[in-house]
Amino acid sequence: MIVSYLKYIAIVILLVAIQKTLIWLIALSNYNISPDLVILMVIYVGIARGHIEGLVIGFVSGLMIDVLSGSFLGLSALCYTITGFIAGYFCVKEREDSYKKYFLVGIVFLCALIANTIYFLIFYQGSPITVQNIFLIYILSTTTYTTLVGSLFILFIKDNKRTAYIG
């Protein structure tokens, strides 16, 4: 169990590094909208392993993002923790049959939407941007972009024993 946690954390460290260094290459320039690779990992852990693993990985990865961003300690940790927990509701371990791929895309969209809503609504508190604009410019666009990137991963998931449930 600890090994699997360490494995997930190693992947998260790698994704965080990419998120902080290379993601600007695919960011939408106007509002610096970029996909959230780390949240995709958290959702994946939640779906594959359940609530507790989703929670732990969510919290740890969120904390890493917060520490590295240096602006708002605790905010990403909160969002990713909640996301990991929600993703745990769709855990494949409890299911007899597998999810269809488009359903997985829906789960990613839902989880990313919740995480981004919490994050951006708190992050832009006290700024002159209206809630409407926060939703359209940041929440919806980031969620959509993240879901698109997540869909690419879902498309390439192999139908082996583990991923059969997911795919």
């Binding site: 708002f72 300690l73 940790a77 708190i122």
Partner: protein, 275 residues
């Protein structure tokens, strides 16, 4: 114990979620930036709304304690109010007496009544000033309302004064409005009366009775009382009932006026009467 363990196992996901959310919130609220100030304001408002809702539900034990405390406080405050009222009344009385002292050119000695009788035919008061305070027999005793009586006995530190309700005290008086003269005295059965007033004299209820210039003991013009009833005593004289200017039942402080009878006038009148 086993049941509790099972329950914890069943809800462990929620417990971990709560733990992480709390840690995240603590971290968030330890930041000090604009967003957090807004969030804190919102959180305080939200908690305040919840608290005001909860406070509407009465706590019986708290109410009992509060009730007990308020009753004790009420008694304490009632005592304080009574003491303040007493002090206020004393202040008013003393202020009036001080103004009288300032007005009186003859000079006065202030004194407190330490004993008084009001139900006998020869009523007196005892005051806490005597020879050591320069008080002498026959000095008038007054208040700001009017005449009280005269000193009839003096010791080192105390004096006794006859008051208006004393059969032995007879005062030369007059009606202020019509200047009708008379003798002001106590009838011994509860009323102050003005006697020796001719039947045809102009005296009406409400007229003020004052000390006369003819008095050898009292300065002229000190109020004695107000006429409350006039009637006929016999074919020659009126019977006039007077309400005293001084309320003897609540009297507590007095002034003794440093006014002594004129010895020369007294001697002259005595010689003339003896001839």
């Amino acid at each position: 114990m086993k049941t509790i363990g099972l329950l914890i196992l069943r809800i462990k996901e929620y417990l971990i979620l709560t733990l992480f959310v709390v840690i995240s919130l603590v971290l968030i609220f330890n930041n000090d930036n604009t967003q957090i100030r807004f969030l804190r304001a919102f959180a305080i408002g939200f908690v305040g709304t919840l608290q005001s809702g909860v406070s509407a539900v009465p706590n019986v034990f708290e109410l009992q304690n509060e009730n007990k405390y308020l009753r004790e406080k009420n008694i304490e405050l009632a005592n304080e109010v009574a003491a303040l009222k007493e002090a206020k009344l004393e202040n008013i009385r003393l202020s009036k007496l001080l103004s009288l002292k300032d007005k009186n050119v003859l000079g006065v000695i202030s004194a407190k009544i330490v004993n008084k009788s009001l139900v006998q035919t020869r009523n007196t008061i005892t005051i806490n000033a005597g020879e050591n305070d320069s008080i002498k027999i026959n000095m008038p005793v007054v208040t700001d309302d009017g005449l009280v009586g005269k000193i009839v006995g003096v010791s080192k530190n105390y004096s006794i004064a006859q008051i208006l309700y004393n059969k032995d005290l007879r005062i030369s008086a007059k009606v202020q409005r019509s200047r009708v003269d008379g003798i002001f005295t106590y009838d011994g059965v509860g009323s102050l009366i003005l006697t020796n007033v001719p039947k045809a004299a102009d005296v009406n209820p409400g007229d003020l009775i004052i000390t006369s210039d003819y008095s050898n003991l009292f300065p002229a013009g000190i109020p004695l009382g107000t006429v409350i009833e006039t009637g006929n005593l016999d074919n020659l004289f009126k019977k006039i009932t007077v309400k005293p200017a001084v309320n003897f039942s609540i009297l507590e402080e007095v002034f003794v006026v440093k006014n002594l009878p004129s010895r020369e006038k007294y001697e002259l009148e005595k010689i003339f009467m003896n001839k």
